[in-house]
Symmetry: C2
Subunit: 319 residues, 2 copies
């Protein structure tokens, strides 16, 4: 069993680095924090690394300020490196370097595309979140799950499953959540922090963005737009424009939702989401992008108007 190999490596390690992926989400952040608290309870010296800032809505988690975003000369060598929720070395950003500088590396992840880049790889695509694997690891190490660990694990599971609503949610996901609630997790408090903490600017932006929704192909395709001008007018920054494609997708009869977003550099970022049938990855590939069947994206160097025309033309062919 893999956990036994990890146990063995842990036994001989004192100074341990945990690395989350670039543009961190709830799962990589929760995995790192939960494992950090768990290893600290075993007396290890734990160092957290993440290239990019932890998003505001995750900063309620205890310990978020402990992430380092620079590689300093005295923090290059470790007895053991964990990469958590990273499908390939590029996802570690500048901390990819740690994989080269250190011998003992462990890769724990749930992405089917994982390239098994470490000396020990535990990749389980059936897990809804890497946090499910970290829960299993902590349990197998017989470490007491305190409220900080429980909140971190719950956060990763909640964010990667759309709070138990996506198809990756399994019976096991709910069983782990049941355990975490027993340990003191307050679902409403965490949901308020994660999902109900919009800025007024973001809310005003939602109104403008929704207003651009258009339907095509007898209501099976929806489009939605975000321009730099909209952001400026409501005073929102780029980070506050995330997650808008859902408004276009969650319409009755819509199978494929297409978001067109004007980037800082003038290029158009296209996000594609489908409900059941259309292969978004295939559509994104046409424009040099990629992703999964239900969620993919690409970047197009044109005006928003033109990007919409060419993507819609290809999208319609898929029906």
């Amino acid at each position: 069993m893999l956990n036994n190999n990890i146990k063995e490596l842990l036994k001989n390690s004192k100074k341990i680095a945990l690395v989350g992926h670039i543009m961190p989400d709830g799962d990589t952040t929760g995995s790192c924090l939960a494992l950090a608290y768990a290893l600290e309870s075993l007396g290890k010296d734990v160092f957290l690394f993440c290239q990019d800032d932890i998003p505001d809505n995750l900063c309620f988690l205890e310990g978020c300020e402990k992430f380092n975003n620079e590689l300093t000369p005295d923090n290059k060598y470790f007895d053991l490196i964990f990469a958590l929720d990273c499908s390939d070395p590029e996802r570690l950003g500048i901390f990819k370097k740690l994989l080269e500088l250190n011998e003992q590396t462990i890769n724990i992840d749930h992405h089917v595309s994982n390239t098994e880049f470490a000396s020990l790889n535990w990749v389980d695509p059936n897990a809804a979140a890497t946090c499910e694997l970290i829960y299993e690891l902590i349990e197998s190490l017989n470490i007491h799950i305190d409220i900080n660990i429980a909140n971190a694990l719950y956060t990763g599971i909640s964010t990667d499953t759309g709070n138990f609503s996506y198809s990756n949610t399994t019976s096991k996901t709910h069983s782990i959540a049941a355990q975490l609630l027993t340990l003191g997790v307050k679902p409403e408090e965490i949901s308020n922090n994660l999902y109900r903490n919009n800025s007024l600017e973001r809310v005003k932006l939602i109104a403008r963005v929704i207003d651009t929704i258009e339907l095509y192909k007898h209501g099976q395709i929806s489009t939605i737009e975000i321009t730099k001008d909209m952001l400026t007018k409501v005073g929102a920054d780029e980070k506050e424009s995330s997650g808008m494609v859902g408004y276009a997708k969650d319409i009755k009869g819509v199978e494929l939702a297409l978001l067109f977003k004007e980037q800082e550099d003038g290029q158009i970022k296209v996000s594609m989401r489908s409900k059941n049938i259309i292969d978004c990855n295939k559509l994104a590939n046409i424009f040099g992008g990629g992703g999964h069947a239900r969620a993919a994206g690409c970047t197009i160097n044109s005006s928003l108007y033109d990007a919409k025309i060419i993507v819609l033309e290809e999208a319609k062919k898929l029906f």
Copy 2:
């Protein structure tokens, strides 16, 4: 144990009526359907009653068309009546009559305000949903939970807990969900039906309604408005304007959200939601309304403009 008393009553009953509450939601609908399928598998003749139409987003549940909304002369007398998710007899609407005409009545509910109006009452305010109690009952009757029963139970649990996000969600809630997923429930399919099936008119209405949000009391109070004119302009009907108060509540720093909605008759319906501190029930009481600490409402006979002024004035005093 209550379940044993219910078992006893069931043994001697053949013709059984299940009644849901007026303005049905996922929990009353799910409870009725799940218990109906379970009792039918025991060879009972089951009749479903609900005064009002089952909402569109629940119509994906097998058997929704089986609800009767009239009391016919040949369907007045039963061996046993179940009232499910009904806190008092008024909640049965016209089917309150069944409680008077029949001797053996069972009241299964989770509302703390339940008036224990039946001959046998099983009220558990610790249950997140009446569907949790129906799950327990069906299990204790050793009835096989087929996919129709499982989907109905999951629907009631999901809708009453904000898909596992409200404070009423317990470890038990997740344990039951874990079981139901094992039995074939597909969380994404159900969530798509329940929460991601907006009409385009509703989505366009959301944009207009959000645009009315204003903040008061240093951002601790938010207001949001729905006028008849907005509904007309986007072509939405009244039913499509539900759930909008959430957009005002889910803003950072907001403790109390107030929705002002113009009714058909020109009166203003006020919905109040608070996050942690403010007692909405107390505020609603001032205007002859009521509810709970975190959610309450009232109706005011004035213009929307005036209703906003007088409610805001009282609301500010609570901080």
